[in-house]
């Protein structure tokens, strides 16, 4: 990713994507921060929402708010229809074979915890192993540590190298006869690395090990096809995919979901309840106890529609162009070291500035109207790998431009001015 992909990055975007038009779809991009136009490059934390999503959510509340699957009235019918249509959109977004394989959850974190407790925990015996990677977000570490504490299982970790690429040579050796489960990120939130998930899933399946893929950072940038990947579970969050907060998707292969016990008990997830015996609803409802985040699901459906309306090839070319330009320009700033230089990357340039703490960089960028992230990015093991307490992370979305990268660079020069 070091070399710019285009000889003249200042020339007009050749991706064919009409970024100016896209930017008009996002109301928040019109606002200023301390008198300067907002440069929002914290998309790995959460993305901004297009008007289509905001309108879908508000239309739901204004016109057909009701409790899905519970009633015979017109409002309930409309709400249920919209909710289930959103499920179908999510299904096609990730290439799942069946709508029943799409479980609505609060987000990726809840999806991983659900799989950890309902699928993995009952299968674990003392001394069994769960394999993850060194570049996981805390939400793909801690749920597995909980299972280990509960069952006496061991957590094993596939390392990454100095570029931020997984050391695949160690995979075979880490997939032992005791390995019962593998969980890994599709895209690293701290490094931007796109992992060779298909290849890793093949190795795991050959060893009889089921796989969960954390797709939180992949869903907004890559075309996801769970059947092509061959994974058993896939999770992503609505709010990182231009949709609302509090909604996400767990994909699970139907026969696995069918065999799993419920995660939460309550309304909606049952077929019949007596004090002697309760029978559970079919999938996916078995895992959707309580009134769901209907507005969130509808908003997510609108986000998926929005993305579907954009030429995928042009979008990818645009995102690659902005990332290449940002990588080049950030690397040129004196004293900057980019952490994470994998060959296959999306969206993220994470870096440290010599002698300046990331939080000071973050504060100065903020005063320049540039919203980036400074911190450990909920991936402390990644920080430990590079021997730094924190990094500054610029993460780009479909609306970001090279001009915004220039604003970031101006901000970094301001950091130098102040810290000398």
């Amino acid at each position: 990713m070091k070399a710019p992909r285009r000889a003249h990055p200042r020339e007009r975007s050749s991706s064919g994507l009409d970024v100016a038009r896209i930017r008009k779809d996002f109301p928040i991009l019109e606002r200023t921060i301390r008198g300067k136009p907002l440069v929002y490059i914290n998309n790995a934390a959460t993305t901004q929402k297009p008007r289509a999503v905001i309108d879908a959510v508000s239309r739901y509340y204004a016109h057909y708010n009701s409790n899905v699957h519970r009633g015979l009235d017109e409002l309930t019918e409309q709400a249920t229809e919209a909710f289930e249509t959103a499920r179908a959109k999510a299904q096609s977004f990730i290439g799942a074979a069946d709508e029943r394989e799409v479980v609505f959850v609060r987000g990726t974190t809840e999806a991983i915890n659900l799989v950890a407790q309902s699928f993995v925990r009952p299968r674990m015996r003392e001394g069994d192993e769960i394999l993850i990677t060194e570049m996981e977000h805390h939400s793909n570490i801690v749920p597995w540590q909980l299972v280990c504490e509960q069952t006496g299982a061991r957590l094993r970790v596939l390392p990454f190298d100095e570029r931020g690429e997984l050391v695949l040579e160690q995979l075979d050796q880490l997939l032992t006869p005791r390995t019962r489960f593998l969980a890994l990120a599709h895209v690293s939130n701290a490094l931007g690395t796109v992992n060779p998930v298909g290849q890793i899933v093949d190795a795991a399946r050959a060893a009889g090990v089921p796989v969960l893929v954390d797709g939180a950072q992949a869903a907004p940038h890559l075309r996801v096809d769970v059947r092509e990947l061959g994974c058993d579970f896939y999770a992503f969050s609505g709010h990182k995919t231009y949709g609302p907060t509090g909604i996400g998707v767990l994909y699970g292969r139907a026969e696995l979901l069918d065999a799993m016990p419920p995660y939460h008990g309550g309304g909606e997830m049952i077929r019949s309840v007596t004090f002697e015996r309760t029978t559970y609803h079919d999938i996916p409802y078995k895992f959707e106890a309580g009134t769901p985040n209907t507005a969130g699901a509808i908003g997510l459906g609108a986000a998926i529609d929005y993305l579907a309306g954009i030429d995928a090839a042009a979008l990818q070319a645009h995102e690659e162009e902005v990332l290449a330009y940002a990588t080049e320009k950030v690397s040129e700033v004196p004293g900057v070291r980019v952490t994470g230089t994998a060959k296959e990357k999306v969206s993220i340039v994470s870096f440290v500035m010599e002698g300046v703490h990331a939080h000071d960089v973050g504060t100065i960028l903020d005063r320049e109207g540039v919203a980036a992230r400074a911190g450990h990015h909920c991936a402390q093991p990644v920080m430990q790998h590079f021997g730094v307490p924190a990094t500054t992370r610029a993460s780009f979305g479909l609306y970001n431009t090279r001009q915004e990268v220039d604003r970031l660079i101006e901000g970094l020069h301001r950091v130098h001015e102040i810290f000398g």
Binding site: V356, A358, H359, D360, I364, M383, I418
Partner: protein
């Protein structure tokens, strides 16, 4: 630019680049650790208490410019104070950085520490400035637990 300079004043930058009383303290008889889980800043305060007086004070750790400068300035201000006066100073600094002591800071007794007042306009950074001081309080109390900002 002016408002950033209110935060990153020369005195702050000087103490960040050349922290005073940095490192372990052989004569220490009190120690406490502070941690800000939000940003990973860590500070350890070492004290040599002689009866009721802070004879010597050192700190070590890694953090941003604000927390490092705050810790460095703190060691200069605390050295030689009686425990009671050190606690009183903590209270004053706390009011200063949270803006509770009014626009002019905490008055003449704060001395150089008034440079920390710039933090009040950066609510997210208040904890950076106050972490070393909370850690100092823990060391004065003789507690062994790690202090966190959360």
């Amino acid at each position: 630019m002016s408002d950033l300079r209110d935060l990153y004043q020369e005195l702050i930058l000087d103490h960040t680049k050349r922290p005073r009383n940095f490192g372990q303290l052989a004569t220490a008889n009190r120690k406490a650790e502070g941690f800000n889980p939000l940003c990973g800043d860590r500070v350890t305060v070492h004290l040599e208490l002689d009866g009721d007086t802070v004879r010597e004070i050192h700190f070590e750790g890694s953090g941003c410019a604000i927390s490092t400068a705050s810790a460095s300035l703190m060691t200069e201000a605390i050295k030689g104070l009686r425990v009671e006066d050190a606690r009183a100073l903590f209270e004053q600094v706390h009011k200063l950085v949270t803006g509770a002591s009014g626009p002019n800071g905490g008055g003449p007794s704060l001395g150089k520490l008034v440079v920390l007042a710039g933090v009040r306009d950066y609510p997210i950074r208040v904890k950076c400035a106050s972490l070393p001081w909370h850690t100092l309080c823990a060391a004065l109390s003789g507690g062994d637990e790690t202090v966190t900002t959360e």
